[in-house]
């Protein structure tokens, strides 16, 4: 059948589907998009991401792009970043945004939640030391406010400080004046956003992506 010959290795798709949980249609559409972004090459690089026009006005563009090349997100060992990713890694990163299915046990939902939370944590923890320090958090807030016209660095700083204070109060409770709070660990991050219901919020609708409406 002609369709099988044009589809790049159905066997590959089955593997990917098992690994990431996407359906075949979704993988097909994403593959098309991957090829469009990479100009039909095998791998994606940072420059390809920077070409997306809609992404240009996003305040946290740099961090999003970095997240794709972060070894922790593409399930490779070791820290740091890679220079280019293949389709499989692309899919793995995308799979963090899949919604939890209806028929999941509580434990599975919890796992999904932790995975999404881990993705967010990795985005904040840029130096990969397992904690989000005050400097890193300040950077996050500054980036969020970076597109708002006036660069109010001082206000960004005080917001980040207040946020950090809140985390410390929630996680540590009581601290002596000479103790120092190193940074937000993953456990503290979890505790902080426990009411946030991230498994319901951090989702993209992969269902009905029509290839004809793919933006350039």
């Amino acid at each position: 059948m002609g369709a099988l010959q044009s589809a790049p290795g159905h066997q590959e798709y089955i593997d990917l589907a098992e690994k990431t949980g996407f359906s075949f249609e979704q993988i097909g559409v994403l593959h098309k998009r991957f090829k469009q972004l990479s100009h039909n090459q095998e791998t994606l690089r940072r420059e390809h991401f920077n070409e997306i026009p809609d992404l240009a006005c996003n305040p946290i563009r740099a961090q999003i792009v970095e997240a794709f090349f972060d070894r922790r997100n593409i399930r490779q060992n070791g820290g740091g970043t890679v220079e280019e990713i293949g389709f499989e890694e692309f899919l793995v990163v995308m799979s963090h945004f899949r919604p939890p299915s209806l028929h999941m046990t509580n434990e599975q939902r919890e796992n999904v939640r932790r995975e999404k939370l881990r993705f967010l944590f990795n985005m904040h923890d840029t130096d990969n030391d397992g904690t989000i320090t005050l400097e890193e958090y300040r950077h996050v807030v500054e980036e969020l406010l970076s597109r708002s016209g006036t660069l109010e660095k001082e206000t960004a700083k005080s917001i980040a400080d207040a946020a950090m204070l809140e985390v410390a109060s929630i996680s540590m409770g009581h601290m002596e004046p000479d103790e120092f709070y190193e940074g937000i660990t993953f456990e503290h991050f979890d505790k902080l956003l426990i009411e946030f219901e991230i498994e319901s919020k951090m989702n993209i609708r992969f269902l009905n992506m029509d290839t004809t409406t793919l933006c350039k």
Partner: protein, 694 residues
Amino acid sequence: MAALRPVRRRPAPRLTGLLCVLLLVFVPFASASRDVDSESNETWGRPARSTQEDPDHRTNSSDPHPKKSFPVLSFNYEHVRKPFEISLWILLALLMKLGFHIIPRVSNIVPESCLLIVVGLLLGGIIKAVNEKVSLFDSKFFFLYLLPPIILDAGYFLPIRPFTENLGTILVFAVVGTLWNTFFIGGLMYGVCQIEATQLGDVSLLSCLLFGTIISAVDPVAVLAVFEEIHINELLHILVFGESLLNDAVTVVLYHLFKEFSLAGTVTVVDAVLGVVCFFVVSLGGIMFGVVYGILGAFTSRFTSHTRVIEPLFVFLYSYMAYLSAEIFHLSGIMSLIACGVVMRPYVEANISHKSYTTIKYFLKMWSSVSETLIFIFLGVSTVDGPHDWNWTFVIVTVVLCLVSRVLGVIGLTFIINKFRIVKLTKKDQFIVAYGGLRGAIAFSLGFLLTDSKMKRMFLTAIITVIFFTVFVQGMTIRPLVELLAVKKKKESKASINEEIHTQFLDHLLTGIEDICGHYGHHHWKDKLNRFNKTYVKKLLIAGERSTEPQLISFYNKMEMKQAMMLVESGSAAKLPTVVSSVSMQNIQPRGPSSRRAMPSISKSREQEIRKILRGNLQKTRQRLRSYSRHDLMMDPFEDNMSEVRFRKQRVEMERRMSHYLTVPANRQETTPVRKVWFEPGVSRCSRIINYTL
């Protein structure tokens, strides 16, 4: 009922009870005295008239008119009758409300709406016993005066984010669900009427459908009244509540449609098509009116910086005008009101002063509370009063059909909706949505508006029965059911800067991922709307520098202000609440030479505001603290030391918490003697800290 039988132990309910009894007795006499008054007016009228006849005589001064003694004390009730009766009713309603809350046991089991209806029933009974015809219930009164405050309160404080996220679901439930209910109930009812045994053969199909329309709409007042007390999670609350608000358009269209048709007699295809067009006109037109008035209101609030006192009035009046304007054209007034409140709110809140904001909040809550109370009481009174025609078959079939159609509708629609939702609705959710479909006063008023006939009376009886059933049975049992099914409750929303940061972060993240996927989805359009809002609309509608303030910063400022006020308020109360944690900025700052930070540059006007509040309240605090420690501790002069120590401790606590909130290291080494504070009102550590922070 509770109010009439004063409770044994506590004096307060007894007093309330006595007052209520007095008022209850007075009201029928007030209405009954109408006849007496008209007579007494005549007796007083005569001397008035006669004196009027006499002006020419009086000028002559030789007046042979027999001189009556000057009336020292006169009685003229007609003069103030209408406002007096209105005030009396409102006062009575509020006293009832007061009474219920003093008696906690009852209010835990029975929702307030039920109690109010029962009170209404009793009142109606008393009025009937006095054999007085008080036709209180006027549909016009209900729709023009009682309903708008409740809807405005709901619309103004509508949580936008969950509403827009679930808008699709809400619309499907509101439009398709109501249509399904109408046709199911109307159709099956017609089928039942056709059965020979029921002797209801004269009820036409169109009448049945009209009845179906009236009875199928979920009522926002009843939903609010019941759901407010059970605190379920945000998603379910917004689903049921949103549905009850948005189905107004459908109800209005169908009601007018069937009313016209039942006069005309026949329905053609053209009429049906026109009906559909009418639906779009009614809903979109209503929303458009609301948006226009909302923008006008927001624009006006831009210039009110010199007349702060009348700011709340603009909000109320523009919204009310939106409602009335929509009602002129028979568009959906409720949707207009909601749209106006939603559009106006973000811009108005950026422009008005904090006091105006509080005023708006409390006035809206107050008015909606009074309206709700009055509505339920009137419902009870009208039940006793209204013309009834009890028909067992009709009533029972109605109740059963309502329940069945609601359940079927919800299940069927959820099945379809879940295909498109990311977060699916579980069986528990579906049950609560189905069970929360309460009917209320809107159905009754619509029924009341029908032209009088035997059918109308039958309809009214059935409507009242359904309302009673839903409010009493469903209203009372929903709370234990929620507990039983362990439905997620509303999480206590503590404004957290971290959550706000991450909400925004997530928004941008998801938009970015959508762009990478190449998919113009939900987030993409929301982002575009936000950017449009920021670049054009905000500049137009918000005064001064606030127009360019990013959302995160305004959130942060709002939170700081709230915490500062909370702090000084709690500081002046008798007891200081315990400190949550002893973490302060010192624990977080990186060690090193950076002990002296550059000051955060909040804008000047903000600074002034915060500084004014803190200073003003701190002075009050100081005085109050002083008086507290003096009077409350009741000590001898030489026990001053104790109070001083306590006072100092409180000061330290307050400071620490202030520094906690205002993110400045607490300078705890400086424990200068507190006495200085008492005698030198100008200088204090606290005001010095204000200078540091701001």
